[in-house]
C-alpha cells in the first residue's frame, strides 16, 4: 500500500511542479510596480527599494524562480510580508480547523446523501424521491455564504442554539463541537446534494443493468439486490463525485470560515487580501493546490478499494 502511495506521488510530481510554476507566474503578473501595490503610492523610494530587496525582486526572474522552488522543496513557504513570521507556521496553526470542518462536512455528505439517494431511487417519484430532489436542488443552489448567513441568523442570532462568534478555539471539546455544528452542516449541504444526486441516478442506472436481472433470476430478495448488488456498483461514481467536488468543498470551506468567523485557511486568506500580503497569498495557493493533489491521490486509491477492475487488469 505504502509503495503504491509512493509511486502515485511520484506520478504527481510533474503536476505539482506545473502547479507551483503557475503560482509563481500568477503572483508575478501583478500589474504595475508590486511595491506600490503593497505599500501604496505614498511610500518613499527608500522603503520601496528595501521591500524590493526583501522580496528578491532585484534578482533576475530565473533566480527568483529557482529560490522559490528550492524553498518549497525544503517545506518552506517563505515569510509573511506583514508579520515576517514563517508562513508555514501560520498555516500549521489553522490547518487543523479547516481539516476538521472539511472532514465533518464530508461525513455529513456521505451519511445523509447515500441513504437519501438510495431511498429516492427505490421509490421513484415517491415521497423520498421528491424530498431528495428538492433537498439536492436547494443544496446546489445555496452559495455557501448565503446559506451560512441564513443559518447564522436563524440558529445563532434568533434561536441562540449555537454561538454567533465561533468558539472553535475553545479547549472544552463540547464547546468546540457546538461551534462545529453549523459550519459543518453549511459546508456539508452541498456535499449532501452532490452525493444524493449521484447515488440516485447511479442506483436508477444500476437497477436497470443486466446483473441486477441476474440477481433477481437467482431469487435474491429486493433488499440484497439494492444494498448489495446495486449500491456496491454505485460506490464507484460516488467516489468520483466526491473527488471531483473536493475542490468546491475547499473553496466553500474558506467562505464558511469567513461567515462563521472560524479560524482556518479562509480567515488567513482574507487577512492576506486585506493586507496585500502576496507572500502569504502565494503560500496559501500552494497549500490549497497541494491539498487537491493529495485528494486526487486519495481518490485514486479509493477506486482501488471500490472497483476491483482498477486493481487487477
Amino acid at each position: 500500500m505504502l509503495r503504491f502511495v509512493a509511486k502515485r506521488l511520484a506520478l504527481a510530481i510533474p503536476t505539482l511542479w506545473a502547479v507551483l510554476t503557475l503560482v509563481f507566474v500568477l503572483v508575478r503578473i501583478v500589474p504595475g510596480d508590486p511595491t506600490i501595490v503593497i505599500l501604496g503610492d505614498q511610500a518613499t523610494p527608500a522603503a520601496r527599494e528595501a521591500l524590493r530587496q526583501r522580496l528578491g525582486l532585484d534578482q533576475p526572474l530565473w533566480s527568483q524562480y529557482w529560490d522559490f522552488m528550492v524553498q518549497i522543496l525544503h517545506g518552506d513557504l517563505g515569510r509573511s510580508l506583514v508579520t515576517n513570521r514563517p508562513i508555514v507556521d501560520d498555516v500549521w496553526a489553522v490547518l487543523p480547523f479547516t481539516i476538521e470542518l472539511t472532514v465533518a462536512a464530508l461525513i455529513i455528505g456521505v451519511a445523509m446523501g447515500v441513504p437519501l439517494g438510495v431511498l429516492a431511487a427505490r421509490k421513484r417519484d415517491g415521497f423520498a424521491d421528491w424530498f431528495a430532489r428538492l433537498f439536492s436542488l436547494a443544496g446546489l443552489s445555496f452559495p455557501a455564504f448565503v446559506s451560512g448567513i441564513l443559518l447564522l441568523i436563524a440558529f445563532a442570532v434568533q434561536l441562540r442554539w449555537f454561538p454567533v462568534i465561533s468558539t472553535a478555539n475553545a479547549t472544552d471539546p463540547v464547546e468546540r463541537l457546538r461551534a462545529l455544528v453549523l459550519p459543518a452542516f453549511n459546508l456539508g449541504l452541498i456535499m449532501v446534494a452532490y452525493v444524493t444526486r449521484v447515488t440516485r441516478s447511479g442506483m436508477l442506472k444500476a437497477l436497470g443493468e443486466d446483473y441486477i436481472r441476474t440477481a433477481r433470476a437467482k431469487g435474491l430478495p429486493q433488499r440484497l439486490i439494492v444494498w448489495r448488488h446495486a449500491l456496491r456498483n454505485v460506490l464507484i461514481p460516488i467516489v468520483t463525485v466526491i473527488g471531483l467536488y473536493l475542490g468546491v468543498l475547499i473553496g466553500n470551506a474558506v467562505v464558511t470560515e469567513i461567515v462563521f468567523n472560524r479560524p482556518g485557511l479562509g480567515k488567513l486568506i482574507v487577512t492576506a487580501l486585506n493586507q496585500r500580503d502576496y507572500a502569504l497569498l502565494q503560500g496559501l495557493m500552494v497549500v490549497s493546490a497541494f491539498a487537491i493533489v493529495v485528494a486526487n491521490i486519495l481518490t485514486d486509491l479509493t477506486y482501488g478499494l471500490v472497483d476491483p477492475r482498477v486493481k487487477t487488469q
Binding site: 436481472r213 456496491r232 472497483d307
Partner: protein, 331 residues
C-alpha cells in the same frame, strides 16, 4: 447426480395459454399471444424467432422478471415443478427463482456483477435458498465451477468477472443457474455473444450438464443452426404467435409454416453454396400488427381467410407437429 426416475412429474415446465402484454406509448399490446407448451425432464425445447417475436418475453414471463411498468402477464398459467407461478405470491416466486428454475442470459459481459467475486456470486444462491454457511457455499461453488469445466477453479473463486473471457463468464453464469440443482433451465440466447468455437464448447457443456442433471431446458435462440445441434423439439415464433411446433428432425425435414420455410431459405449455409431467398418486408411493429395471421403481410401464400387468426393445427401424419396456417393446415 443420479438420474431421477421419470414419473408423472416429468413435466418440469408447463405453460398454458400465456399472453404477455407490453406497454408502448401508454397502450398495452399483446407481444406474446396464447402460447402453450410443456418441457419435460431431460428435454430441450428450442424457441426460435427473430428479434421482437416474443421469445425472450416468454422467458421473462416464466421467470416473473418482466419489468413491471411496461410488461405484464395478462393471461395464462405457468407451472414450474408443480408450482403455479402465476398464482404464487412474489415471495414464493422469489423462492422458486434460482432454486427450482434457473436462467442464463445472452450477455455474459454484463450479466455478472462486476464488483463481486465470482465465487461469491455462485455461492449466493446457495446461501439464500439452502441456508448454507459461507464456507459450505464456497466449497460447493468450487465444485460447481469444476462442473462447468473452469480450469483451476479453486484459485479463481475470488477472481472478478473482468478477469474472465466471455466463454468463461458464460460458464460462470451456468454454474450460478445450476447451483441449487433446479429442474428447469431457461437459456436466453446463451451463445449468441460468443465466438463460434466458444459457442460450440458452451453448447456441448450445456448438453452434457442436461444429461447429468436431468434438466428440462428451454433454449431461446434466433439461430437455426444451434437448434439443429441441441434441440429435441422446436417452436417457431413470429409476432408473438407460435407458428410452428415440431420435433426437431421433423421440423428440418419438413418445415411447414411459410415463415419457417422462408427463415431456412434466408440462412446462408457453411456446408454448401446456397441461393438466398430473403423474406420481403419487415416485421410490423406491435401497433401495426395485422389482425388474423400476423405473417400475412409478408406471406406469398396469403388468402382471404388469413384475416382470421388460424389455430395451431396438428398435421395429418404427426400429432406432435403443429402449424398455425390456414393454407398449410388445410393441405
Amino acid at each position: 447426480m443420479s438420474a431421477a426416475p421419470i414419473t408423472a412429474a416429468s413435466e418440469a415446465l408447463q405453460v398454458e395459454g400465456l399472453t404477455t402484454s407490453i406497454r408502448i406509448a401508454g397502450h398495452w399490446f399483446d407481444a406474446v399471444r396464447d402460447v402453450s407448451f410443456t418441457v419435460r425432464q431431460r428435454e430441450t425445447l428450442a424457441l426460435v424467432g427473430e428479434s421482437g417475436c416474443g421469445k425472450s418475453l416468454t422467458a421473462l414471463s416464466i421467470m416473473g422478471l418482466l419489468p413491471g411498468a411496461v410488461g405484464r402477464v395478462s393471461k395464462g398459467r405457468i407451472v414450474v415443478d408443480g408450482v403455479d407461478m402465476t398464482a404464487a405470491t412474489e415471495a414464493k416466486r422469489e423462492a422458486m427463482r434460482g432454486d427450482r428454475i434457473g436462467m442464463i442470459f445472452q450477455e455474459p459481459m454484463t450479466s455478472l456483477n462486476p464488483v463481486l467475486p465470482i465465487g461469491f456470486q455462485i455461492a449466493e444462491g446457495l446461501m439464500q435458498h439452502r441456508g448454507m454457511s459461507k464456507d459450505a457455499a464456497r466449497k460447493r461453488a468450487v465444485q460447481l465451477m469444476e462442473l462447468v469445466r473452469i480450469p483451476s477453479a479453486a484459485d479463481r473463486l475470488d477472481a472478478y468477472p473482468h478477469q474472465f473471457s466471455g466463454g468463461m463468464r458464460q460458464r460462470v453464469m451456468i454454474a450460478m443457474a445450476l447451483a441449487c440443482s433446479p429442474r428447469v433451465l431457461i437459456a436466453d440466447e446463451p451463445t449468441t455473444a460468443l465466438d463460434v468455437t466458444i459457442q460450440a464448447q458452451v453448447l456441448a457443456l450445456l448438453a452434457d450438464l442436461q444429461k447429468q442433471e436431468g434438466l428440462a431446458v428451454l433454449l431461446i435462440t434466433h439461430n437455426l443452426g444451434v437448434v439443429a445441434s441441441v434441440a429435441d423439439r422446436v417452436m417457431v415464433m413470429y409476432g408473438g404467435d407460435v407458428v410452428e411446433s415440431a420435433p426437431m428432425r421433423a421440423f428440418f425435414q419438413a418445415p411447414t409454416h411459410p415463415y419457417s420455410e422462408a427463415l431456412l431459405a434466408a440462412m446462408p449455409r457453411v456446408d454448401r453454396a446456397s441461393k438466398l431467398a430473403p423474406i420481403p418486408g419487415q416485421v410490423p411493429t406491435l401497433p401495426d400488427m395485422p389482425a388474423g395471421c400476423r405473417y400475412q403481410s409478408r406471406c406469398p401464400l396469403r388468402i382471404a381467410k388469413c384475416a382470421e387468426r388460424p389455430p395451431l393445427t396438428p398435421l395429418g401424419g404427426d400429432p406432435e407437429h403443429g402449424v398455425r396456417c390456414w393454407v398449410r393446415a388445410g393441405a
